[in-house]
């Protein structure tokens, strides 16, 4: 039983070791690809087990909870693991086309696999300190991936990224220390009971705010998002797609987990703050995007704005809102990673990501244009694509509790998102190329563009499938939200028969 939970983490680690030893040979990239496929299989097995049995947990090294490290998967954890594996596989295929050989020789594939292992570990762990360790694994791997390939711009971005993320992990770690001092446990399920019993609830709220700031930096919410647009536009496209898809979402996941499981003593205070943070995040992100003219910078600001919707789902704290938040999380990872993939291919064709210096893609690459439309309009919330259902659920949840202003902001941000997407559409696809040429992928052999278009098409298909058949996904999100709001299953499964 316990190995079902271990495999999605162990497979990428083993792949990393083997891929690193084979980094100078073409075999290295195929090992990485095969490992990513195996990770997806392992994640699917985990998902099947969770669908079959509900919440499952495993005690590492046979040390019983709450003393040892517990791995636990509920509906939310399982779906995040699966979506991580899907993004990982898509990126491994995309990397076949994009990543040059000398970068592979530096250990790109090993770092990438360790990053995936770190993200998966963060989704599966049931121990607060272990969560911190996974954050560190992710940070080290992502920092190396950010600067790999060298260059002034990347180093500049990398330093900003690592400095601000270190501050966030330090705040997170201080919070962990204080919480441990108060309760004497770090097991999340155990913390739920211990924190509720504490007399000094004021101090708990202070610690809750520390966690909110720590995770908030990771999730890039207002006003802690400034590291994100400073760094996401510099690395290789495969890397920025993984970052855009997964890294901020780990922060959102951690917020969702801690603020439904542990910090629910003063919802009126903590979640009220989150509501306004979410609204500002949505709005500031989309306004920031309007001022940009670089393909990836626009997308980076849109990550921030979309994060607002997810945290809003948590902040409204009703079953419908949380359901929308979970749905949004899944939909967004697929769509956002895909948009960064498209940006990479657009650069391959037109030679730049600066929208003022490219154009004419609609005429010379109609397939790419079609594949851009799907995630772009899904992001903006056009029916019947996946983003429509996600936004619909969130806005409906806001209206249900008479939060009219929040609903208005969410709709307005959707409108402004369309503005940004049509800007990219108009400038990159419709207007003629400023150099008067037809953009062609002449710098790369067809095998490269083929490797890059396969994941784009795959993720676009998933967006359409979720859009046209939302029912099973919505049902799934509903169960996930129910488990979040009433984590008694989670707690009893982790702690076993103990009181």
């Amino acid at each position: 039983m316990s190995w079902v939970l271990v495999m999605p983490i162990a497979v990428p680690f083993v792949t990393a070791v083997v891929a690193y030893l084979a980094r100078y040979y073409p075999a290295g990239r195929w090992i990485s690809l095969g490992g990513s496929a195996l990770t997806l299989v392992a994640s699917a097995v985990l998902m099947a087990a969770v669908l079959d049995q509900g919440v499952i947990a495993a005690q590492m090294s046979n040390w019983d909870a709450p003393f040892g490290i517990t791995l636990v998967a509920d509906y939310l954890g399982a779906v995040m693991v699966v979506i991580t594996a899907i993004t990982g596989l898509a990126t491994a295929i995309y990397a076949l086309g994009e990543i040059p050989e000398h970068v592979e020789g530096l250990g790109f594939h090993a770092l990438f696999q360790i990053l995936i292992a770190g993200v998966t570990g963060a989704f599966l762990t049931g121990d607060l300190f272990n969560l911190y360790v996974w954050f560190e694994v992710m940070l080290i791997a992502s920092f190396s991936l950010l600067v790999i390939g060298g260059g002034k711009e990347r180093l500049d971005a990398g330093i900003k990224y690592v400095a601000l993320n270190l501050v966030s992990t330090l705040i997170f770690l201080s919070g962990i220390g204080l919480l441990y001092g108060l309760t004497g446990t770090l097991n999340m399920a155990d913390l739920r009971g211990s924190v509720a019993e504490l007399e000094n609830q004021g101090l708990v709220t202070v610690i809750a705010m520390m966690f909110m700031v720590g995770f908030g930096v990771k999730a890039a919410v207002f006003p802690l998002f400034f590291w994100l647009p400073a760094s996401y536009h510099t690395p290789y496209f495969a890397i920025s797609a993984v970052f855009a898809g997964l890294l901020t979402k780990v922060g959102v996941y951690a917020l969702m987990r801690m603020f439904t499981l542990v910090f629910v003593g003063d919802v009126g205070f903590t979640h009220e703050i989150l509501i306004w943070v979410s609204a500002l995040t949505m709005f500031v992100g989309v306004v920031g995007a309007a001022a940009q003219t670089d393909f990836r910078k626009i997308l980076s600001f849109h990550i921030i704005s979309q994060i607002g919707y997810m945290t809003l789902g948590l902040a409204l704290f009703t079953p419908l809102a949380l359901m929308g938040g979970v749905f949004y999380l899944v939909h967004h990872i697929i769509v956002k990673a895909n948009l960064f993939f498209v940006a990479g291919l657009a650069k391959q064709y037109a030679g730049s990501t600066d929208l003022n210096r490219i154009g004419g893609l609609y005429k010379s690459a109609p397939l790419l244009a079609a594949l851009f439309i799907i995630p772009a309009f899904s992001l903006a919330g056009f029916p019947p694509l996946s983003g429509f259902w996600a936004k619909y659920l969130i806005v409906k949840a806001a209206i249900e509790i008479d939060a009219w202003f929040i609903a208005f902001v969410a709709l307005l941000v959707g409108l402004l998102t369309i503005f940004s997407m049509t800007k990219i559409w108009g400038m990159a696809f419709w207007k003629p190329h400023p150099d008067g040429i037809d953009p062609t992928p002449d710098r790369a052999p067809p095998v490269v563009t083929r490797a890059m278009i396969v994941p784009i098409a795959g993720l676009a298909t998933m967006t359409i499938v979720i859009g046209f058949f939302p029912e099973p996904f919505v049902q799934f999100a509903r169960t996930a939200a129910e488990q979040l709001l009433d984590p008694s299953d989670y707690v009893t499964t982790v702690l076993g028969g103990q009181p």
């Binding site: 271990v6 690193y20 090993a110």
Partner: protein
């Protein structure tokens, strides 16, 4: 660094430090010591050597690049954890085989997966630290 005294002393020190690091590695788990501290001491041995003879010479003495050592260590530590699978236990459960007894007090010595894990940690720390320090030394 061109000091005859230091170069001569380094030969002795390196051997001594290295033996001590292995001692710390084997002493671990039941007594203070273990893979992490052993790896650090082992790294110090190679750092002393590189200070005395230069990083190029030290790399030659190591034979394998430090990055590969670290990754191999990660692999060994993982294998030690995955070994529990064949015994039907969760990941990283220690597997013990006592020789000449049935516990730490009575047995002469033991074969166990914990030591394998510690060796993995030793190599990760050794490789990690050395890849950092060599990079710094070669830069200047």
């Amino acid at each position: 660094m061109n000091s005859v005294i230091f170069t001569a002393a380094a030969r002795l020190l390196v051997a001594l430090l290295f033996v001590f690091s292995l001692f710390m590695l084997l002493r671990g788990h039941h007594l203070p010591g273990g893979g992490f501290i052993g790896g650090l001491i082992g790294a110090v041995a190679f750092i002393v050597y590189s200070l005395a003879c230069g990083p190029a010479e030290a790399r030659k003495a190591l034979r394998i690049t430090p990055e590969v050592i670290a990754m191999l260590g990660l692999g060994i530590a993982l294998l030690a954890g995955l070994f529990a699978f064949f015994m039907g236990d969760p990941l990283f459960t220690g597997q013990w085989y006592w020789v000449g007894g049935d516990s730490y007090e009575t047995a002469a010595f033991s074969l166990n997966s914990v030591l394998v894990f510690d060796i993995g940690v030793y190599l990760v720390v050794l490789g990690g630290i050395l890849s950092l320090t060599y990079a710094f030394e070669e830069e200047t």
